[in-house]
């Protein structure tokens, strides 16, 4: 076969008629490249390459690190496709051969080369797609797996993602078949996670726990801290209204400025209990915190929490409290004994007492910890309150928490019923329980009994329950052989002496680790109803299809464009669309990396331990995207908008006046403000920095790749990175300038660096800066950070945020840079479309996808490539509809 091709190749070299050879080449591609082992490039192309390209791009010269010669006799593989696509693009754009070369090909010669190459690549790809499908079969990633099990078992807070190994990223996402490998560790983790999730779903008691309303006073909740550490004050103060209850100071020491041991808890004066509140002057930092420990969620369920509290003002001598002056944002967390905290919600307390209500899912055993997040988060040994003013400081009074719940619509839960239907339950002592008892046996707080299902007809029950479970778990109709093999496992387990319940759990565990559950369906060609429902749901919900989608898939109506369109709207309007928003942004804009760097303690003291800021940054990006989706905002909005989705903390961070409170909402921006769009969001500016310094190169590459879809080749080996210097003597631009005089560097850097230059006006957390901060030279700035530590940093060199966008013009700062980008919004839309295509189909965007991408752009031109319009067009496009 290889010999034949080589002979054929020789024949081709001496065929002079271009038209003939083109046809011949086509035959060759179809007939011989079918197995993907034949040379990708045919004779007329080789002739062109010989005459116009290989002089520089051969094995000896390797100009631009490109050795085309080495690809001449290779078949198409991933790398060869990339290279030939690049050759196609450069030649068709007239960039190659270089303009300065005297012997350039005639226009028709180039055109015929480009066409030949295009046909060869497309034909190869179409052929492969016909045989294998456009995307490779892939397993669920760990986000998808978690959502699938959560939806199946009706428990939206099951934690599974973190117990599975991290998924490998390809083409920017955790969705691509080539990268979603499986190892024995992965399988072991599936078994463990599935078993755990299933056992958590079994009803923990016979009767539903009573749904009641109970109030927990803050003063009853144990102590706010154990003792003072060192001379500093760590205070909690009892108040009624805004009156400090001096007689309740447990130390009995009227001099509150002395080493004070104010107990929170155990003391209250009869008659005052219902009025009393406890003032915190600090945000939570072990060991000072408010925690409603007397409440522990009896079962995993939905609860309604009401918290009563208000802001106060504390005098500098801690002897007097008065009415608060500001809105105080409060975060509430669910807490376990081992201090694992889970963020539940944010709300505000005001100077006037108010009751704030939230509905939250809690896990059995969790308790509630509220935190006044704006207050100083002190840490030993010494601290200073940055919010302290001449006449005092803000504090927050926590009065009580009321709990309604658990709010159950049925008992046992829907999840339990899926596993065990209406089979009777009985309570057995833990000691006598079967071997699969929960590990809670050792925990003194844990239950002393457990619930066991009792089947009077195990064979029939197993058959009925397993069929129901597999039908719901699989996203297609299971075949009988699959059902039988799960049932055989259940029977084997029962024969081995396991209880009915344990045998069923083993069977269900197998279902959740089986290829039918783990892998996407689809055969080469168009997706059928269930395949399309699956792809659509994992695209727009990052979750499996619900009953509605399944029904439309089953009768085939989902395949009708109108129905499909209506479903896209339904999915996007559902709260589950936030799963898509979060999962997509985690990878597209690297939001999953939001915590991977921390602002340097010396240079950026004000950001230390400020989780309210860090969390708000992430939320801003997610809610902005959701807002775009809701309003069908166009591609240009990704660069700039006249509003931002922010809260009080972000407004403060961005220098936007008159915004208070924890809630993020769209706020109109002052005219000509630098914010608006994604480029100037703190999250983006944080994930592109390292916590200490910013690099125009790294930020530039990021913008080019993530926003403009322009892939930057890695720097040649042996080139060291240009590092910023925090000593204040030079700026990164000056360092970079030393290199930009070298043409070999400049060829790429003139494209990469300008976006990064424009973003130099923003520090590592995205705040505006006119000067770089330094630990060496500069004007000293002193103060106290959010963590209560005193600091001094220096303000050094001024920021220069100017640059030139090739082919567009110069800009002086980020505003000008945004204007330059806005000249070509379609470029942004194209990139978005391609990102969505990878995310939605789990396959890279290929050469042969270009017509489909162009069609999507044409179809959305009227809406200026609105986000929702793009998604509609994409879902109806060929690449989305085929495997």
């Amino acid at each position: 076969m290889i010999l034949l091709t080589r002979a054929h190749y020789f024949v081709m070299r001496f065929v002079p008629n271009p038209r003939f050879s083109f046809a011949f080449a086509l035959c060759g591609v179809i007939a011989l490249c079918a197995r993907g082992t034949e040379p990708a490039i045919t004779a007329p192309s080789i002739d062109f390459l010989d005459r116009h390209c290989l002089l520089c791009h051969d094995a000896v010269e390797r100009k631009g690190n490109l050795n085309l010669e080495s690809f001449l006799e290779k078949p198409f593989d991933a790398e060869a496709l990339l290279v030939w696509t690049k050759v196609h693009d450069r030649v068709s754009a007239g960039e190659m051969p270089p303009k300065k070369r005297k012997r350039r090909p005639a226009a028709d010669e180039s055109a015929s080369f480009v066409d030949g190459l295009a046909t060869a690549i497309s034909t190869f790809e179409s052929d492969k797609i016909a045989r294998q499908g456009r995307s490779l079969k892939r397993r669920l990633n760990r986000y998808e797996y978690e959502n699938a099990v959560r939806d199946l078992l009706g428990n939206p807070i099951l934690s599974i993602r973190d117990s599975l190994p991290e998924d490998t990223v390809a083409y920017g996402f955790n969705k691509v078949g080539e990268a979603l490998d499986v190892s024995h560790v992965q399988i072991a983790r599936y078994l463990g996670a599935a078993d755990d999730a299933l056992r958590q779903t079994i009803a923990p008691r016979l009767e539903a726990p009573p749904s009641e309303t109970r109030r927990y006073y803050t003063w009853q909740q144990g102590r706010g801290f154990v003792k003072s550490i060192g001379p500093q004050l760590r205070k909690t103060f009892p108040v009624v209204g805004v009156d400090l209850q001096v007689d309740l100071v447990a130390s009995g020491n009227p001099d509150l400025e002395s080493k004070s041991h104010l107990n929170l808890g155990e003391h209250s004066v009869p008659g005052r209990e219902e009025l009393e509140a406890v003032v915190m002057l600090q945000s939570t930092y072990e060991p000072a915190h408010v925690r409603f420990e007397r409440f522990r969620a009896p079962v995993t369920a939905l609860y309604r929490l009401r918290l009563s509290g208000y802001g106060v003002w504390m005098s500098p001598d801690y002897k007097q409290t008065s009415r608060g002056r500001t809105v105080e944002p409060v975060s509430i967390y669910a807490s376990t004994i081992t201090r694992n905290l889970r963020k539940l919600a944010d709300f505000d307390f005001n100077p006037d007492p108010s009751v704030q209500e939230v509905e939250v899912w809690l896990r059995a055993g969790e308790t509630i910890q509220p935190d006044a997040v704006r207050l100083v988060r002190s840490r030993p040994p010494d601290f200073k309150n940055p919010l302290q003013e001449a006449d005092g400081m803000p504090g927050v009074a926590f009065q009580w928490m009321e709990v309604d719940g658990p709010l159950l619509d049925q008992w046992p839960t829907a999840g339990h019923r899926l596993l065990f239907g209406d089979i009777p339950l009985r309570e057995v002592p833990l000691a006598a329980a079967s071997e699969s008892q929960p590990a809670a046996a050792k925990d003194k707080r844990g239950p002393t009994t457990r619930i066991e299902v009792v089947s009077s007809d195990p064979t029939a029950d197993a058959d009925r329950l397993m069929r129901g479970f597999v039908a719901k778990a699989f996203r297609r109709v299971p075949n009988e052989a699959e059902i039988q093999s799960f049932l055989a496992l259940v029977h084997r387990a029962r024969d081995a002496g396991f209880s009915f319940q344990d045998a069923m759990i083993a069977g269900y565990t197998a279902v959740l680790a089986s290829p039918g559950f783990l892998y996407f369906q689809g055969e080469p060609g168009r997706l059928d109803g269930s395949g399309l429902a699956e792809r659509l749901a994992f695209f727009l919900w990052n979750s499996p299809p619900d009953d509605t989608l399944r029904a439309l898939a089953a009768d085939g109506s989902l395949l009708e464009p109108k129905v499909l369109r209506a479903q896209v709207d339904r999915l996007l309007d559902d709260p589950k669309a936030m799963r898509f928003v979060e999962a997509f942004l985690d990878y597209w804009l690297d939001l999953r990396e939001i915590d991977s760097s921390s602002p340097d303690g010396n240079l950026y003291p004000e950001y230390q331990l400020d989780e309210h800021l860090a969390e708000s940054l992430e939320k801003e990006t997610q809610l902005t995207f959701a807002e775009f989706l809701r309003r069908d905002l166009g591609a240009a909005a990704f660069v700039d908008t006249d509003f931002a989705v922010i809260n009080g903390r972000l407004a403060d961070h961005y220098g936007i006046p008159d915004v208070e409170g924890a809630l993020l909402r769209p706020v109109a921006l002052p005219a000509d403000h630098v914010r608006g769009g994604f480029l100037t969001q703190g999250s983006v500016l944080k994930v592109t920095a390292n916590g200490t310094t910013t690099s125009p190169v790294l930020r530039g590459v990021w913008i080019m790749e993530k926003i403009l879809g322009h892939h930057i080749p890695p720097p040649p080996p042996g080139v060291g990175a240009v590092e910023s210097d925090t000593r204040g003597a030079t700026t990164i631009r000056e360092e970079l300038a030393k290199h930009s005089t070298q043409e070999s560097c400049n060829a790429c850097h003139r494209t990469i660096d300008p976006p990064g230059f424009a973003l130099e006006s923003f520090d590592v957390m995205g705040a505006w800066r006119d000067q770089y901060r330094s630990v060496g030279e500069g004007t000293p700035v002193a103060g106290a950070g959010h963590h209560g530590q005193k600091f001094i940093y220096k303000l050094a060199q001024p920021v220069d945020a100017s640059g030139t966008v090739e082919g567009v013009g110069e800009f002086t700062d980020i505003r000008g840079f945004k204007q330059a980008l806005l000249k070509d919004p379609e470029r942004i839309a194209r990139n978005l479309t391609e990102q969505f295509l990878v995310y939605a189909t789990g396959a890279p965007v290929r050469f042969s996808d270009r017509p489909a991408v162009n069609r999507i752009l044409e179809q959305t031109r009227a809406s200026r490539h609105g986000l929702r319009s793009l998604l509609h067009a994409l879902v109806q496009s060929e690449p989305f509809l085929i495997k």
């Binding site: 010989d50 117990s163 024995h184 967390y333 081992t338 840490r379 084997r492």
Partner: protein, 444 residues
Amino acid sequence: MNFSHAPFVSTGATLSRRSFLRNAGIALSLPLLESMSPVFARNASRMAAALDGKPRRMLAICNNLGLLPEHFFPKTAGADYELSEYLQMLAPHRRDFTVFSGVSHPNVDGGHPADNCFLTAAPHPSGGSFRNTISLDQYMAEEVGTHTRFPSLTLGVNVQQGVRSLSWTQSGVMIPCEESAADVFRRLFFTGTAEETALQVRKLELGQSILDTVAGQARALQRTLPDADRDRIEQYFTSVRELEQRMAASKEWEHKPKPKVTAPVPLDPESPVAYMEKVRLMYDLARVAFETDSTRVITLLLDSVNSPAIAVDGSPVSDGYHNLSHHGKSEDKLSQLRKIDEWHMRLLGDLVGDLKTTREDGDTLLDRSMVLYGSNLGNAHSHVNTNMPTILAGGGFRHGQHLAFDHEHNYPLPNLFVSMLQRMSIETDRFASATGTMRGLQIA
């Protein structure tokens, strides 16, 4: 077309050279089938990892009140560093350990709660949305655990149960510390009841049945798939089989007789005052567990924070251990702390000495056992989590040096964990916030 100035010669040369290569057949390369590469690459890496063949072990010890830094850290660096006062107590083993300074876990702060992150390096343990991550020992156990009867042991002295441990699962669940040396000893060396053994075997068999079921379905599914997809399911199938082999290996342990040891069952002291005696018993237990290859991975948390006024050299110190650590520069408290620290060093020296005199094949047990000793606190008095005191003894590294890093800008300690993982023949260059392997630490 203008070709009068074309560099004809050069073009010709290009052609002829290429033709030559083609005719010589050098340029011809067999295409590697897509399907072969992942499976082959994986197996190859596994084999490379197992080449050495010698069992490798780790004992990680954290004393969560640390050591007085002024007496612990050497003043000079390098191979010819001068032993510090404390390290003098380890002088006979100078060639067998490396001492580190200027190292810490990036972004692990918050004082005491950082002990739970000693082996995980999960950031901000006091933070508002903290969640722990997998600890070094559990990461190791996942790879090497099936070689021994017990994948790992999690031990502790005076531990505040439910709050502290060094061992954490991937999903951040605490593995509680075992505090009775006697109980652990019995489990290591006394055969369980027939029922216990049978139950364990049945559980593993159930696991194997589950794997058989899903493997069978993978095979059935493969028949209908195009080549490329079939290869993906093949990878799933192979992984299921590998896990099954591991379960089979675990099952075999249940039928094998436990090792016989001559040492008596340790006698657990009842009072937490006998802290040092408890530490000694745990060190002995760790050694004998390694010697009998009962496990290769052990963690030991010395919960000094939760300890009362402890007995040192037979007589109790005046103040609770934790209170002493807030010495406020009191001479009296400092001298008592010093006494405690010195006993820690002495016991550690004994452990290293014992491991050195025990032999396994041609090596000493120490050569094959990494002993990591350290603390989450760089200075208990000020609660800082930087400049963590750290010693690594044994394990077949080139020791006898003080690796000194910047005290202001610490070097990431998780890099040491990566070196230790690699020493365990686990192929990875990442762990927690590590940026690579430990600079300056070489395999012997």
